[in-house]
Amino acid sequence: MKISREDVLRVAQLAHLELAPEEVETYRGQLDEILSYIGKLQELDVSSVEPMTQMRPQNADGSRQPVRGDGSPGSAVAAGAEPELRDDVVVPCNVADAVLAEAPDAAKPFFRVPKVIER
């Protein structure tokens, strides 16, 4: 058993989820089964492998490669394949009314929530 009742309650608290008492055991059993299956990742030696932290194509040795034009092996490199940064210019963004209209409780220009600071 990888997951205890206490683990489930701790994770639920971290994730701001309130679980009904009968849900705790259901999730414990299911998460336990899933994590046991995921345990197979321990079989692999990954000591010399870098984690994949971005989605650009990589070579067979793990180095990053530029994006190919038409996807065929060895085809020409497409220009401008790097993620682009746009110019840092100010543009008007008058969306406050539309955004506040979707709020469950708004008092323009604020979202209202239960009191968070005691005087």
Partner: protein
């Protein structure tokens, strides 16, 4: 099949230009069909005639004036309900967004409408796109048009069912671990997951940001190609979209496939694969060989670790992305005495069981003391899976596999066992983790008449290659092999 199911993008265009119908009449015909079929299929969650008819009228006005028609003029489309549509309710199949209407359109929607498409409505899906059967929708499951007692696949089950039943000419779905390709296979239609970064995700409500992609369902390859040409391309509102030139996919699809090297990884044909699926997909590969492709046996040794990797990476990202649903700015709020109390009650009431399960799994994998053992390790194994693909593409032009290990299963068959449900994505999650594009094409049926899907992967931005092979396969009768 309904009369509406005979429409394609090309036949809509011809009928409009020949004045055999108008865009408005066509939209009306589709709404009549939807009204008739949707009660049993549950493919649509919302219809938007108030948006569809004015758009159809604009197309009809352009025709009356003899103006040139954009590529999707008057084509009725359906949109998965995780893609934002201004003023049209967008629920993600969740109670927590039951009354949410986005204040803006996703870029993909904007591009479809600019190309003349008529958005009929929003389609059902697993809650926040988390599921492989569409049974995790808060608004009830979708039924498979090919067999009403079976699931349509998921999570884009509504978009797949709508096109398969002729209730839309094409549709948009999203794919995170197989959510376009697997329902495409189960419903018997072509379904394309583009390369990561090929289609802008601005306005796509996020599930797992390093995996999510938007792509089309269609009844034929030409239509999938036409939609791709419209929705693909760089978008300054999505920094993950790629600045790679967009080919005219429709012009590309008829190019010959002779002497292309087709990789067949033995790792995708092992234990757990339904024998009927295996036989048909092998027949499909033989057909590609008859068309002049060269079959190359492959090994992709990390395939067996893909599901375990995926369910760490995807749930970790989901737990972070779904932190935004707190009852403050939009969606459901359940009142509480304190702010924390409000968060917890809102999320307890608003999220369904699978979403909670994944948030907890992801939170666990990211939590102090477990982060290295689970999340970092999974990201390392993900590198190995991506390398399996890049090594393969040094030897082959495309990889051909089954899309799913079995045909569509019965409603309720796998709901009690989440892990068994996850294994329905065993052949699709690999390409999701690697970022490469993949399509599912119909590849015959089982003896019981259930559709089977064959999957074709290409390297990054190789959509043209995939569509060429799919088109050659379609033309040679592979869809009904």
């Amino acid at each position: 099949m309904s009369a509406a199911s005979t429409w394609t993008i090309g036949s809509v265009r011809d009928a409009l230009l020949a004045k055999k119908t108008s865009a408005r009449e066509l939209a009306k015909d589709f709404y009549v069909q939807i009204e008739r079929r949707n009660p049993e299929l549950n493919a649509f969650l919302a219809l938007c005639p108030e948006r569809a008819y004015p758009q159809a009228d604009r197309v009809d006005a352009a025709i009356a004036k003899g103006q040139p028609l954009p590529p999707l003029a008057g084509v009725p489309v359906a949109i998965k309900d995780v893609i934002s549509t201004q003023s049209v309710r967008t629920t993600c199949g969740s109670r927590i967004l039951e009354n949410y209407t986005p204040p803006y359109d996703a870029t993909a929607i904007e591009r479809l409408e600019k190309a003349g498409a008529v958005v009929l409505g929003k389609t059902n899906c697993d809650e926040f796109a988390m599921g492989s059967s569409n049974e995790n929708s808060a608004y009830g499951p979708v039924r498979n048009p090919a067999a009403l007692d079976r699931v349509p696949g998921g999570s884009s089950g509504g978009s797949a069912a709508a096109v398969a039943a002729g209730l839309a000419v094409v549709s948009l779905g999203t794919d995170t671990g197989g959510s376009i390709r697997q329902p495409g296979a189960y419903c018997g239609i072509p379904a394309l997951m583009p390369t990561y970064g090929r289609v802008s995700r601005y306005g796509l409500i996020a599930f797992a940001s390093s995996l999510d992609r938007i792509g089309p369902f269609a009844t034929n390859i030409a239509d999938a190609a036409s939609v791709m040409s419209v929705i693909a391309g760089y978008d300054s509102n999505d920094s993950t979209s790629a600045a790679v030139a967009v080919p005219d996919y429709l012009a590309e699809i008829e190019k010959p496939v002779t002497s292309l090297r087709i990789g067949v990884p033995e790792d995708y044909f092992g234990a757990g694969l339904d024998p009927e699926v295996k036989t048909k997909v092998q027949a499909g590969i033989s057909l590609l060989e008859k068309l002049g492709c060269k079959r190359v046996p492959l090994k992709m040794p990390h395939t067996d670790y893909a599901i375990a990797t995926y369910y760490i990476v995807a749930t970790a990202e989901a737990s972070s992305n779904l932190a935004r649903y707190d009852g403050v700015r939009y969606g459901l709020r359940v009142q509480g005495n304190t702010l924390m109390d409000m968060y917890r009650k809102t999320r307890e009431r608003g999220f369904g069981p699978e979403v909670k399960r994944r948030i907890m799994l992801g939170t666990y994998a990211l939590s102090s003391g477990y982060y290295d053992a689970y999340y970092v390790r999974a990201q390392k194994v993900r590198s190995l899976i991506a390398r399996d693909f890049s090594s393969a593409f040094e030897k082959v032009d495309a990889i051909v596999t089954p899309t799913a290990p079995s045909p569509a299963f019965k409603l309720g068959e796998k709901t009690a066992d989440p892990l068994e449900m996850y294994l329905a994505d065993i052949y699709t999650v690999t390409g999701s983790l690697a970022g490469v594009p993949g399509i599912s094409v119909p590849c015959g049926k089982t003896a019981a008449g259930l559709p089977i899907g064959m999957q074709i992967f290409a390297s990054h931005f190789g959509e043209s290659r995939i569509l060429q092979l799919a088109r050659a396969f379609e033309k040679a009768g592979g869809f009904s092999i």
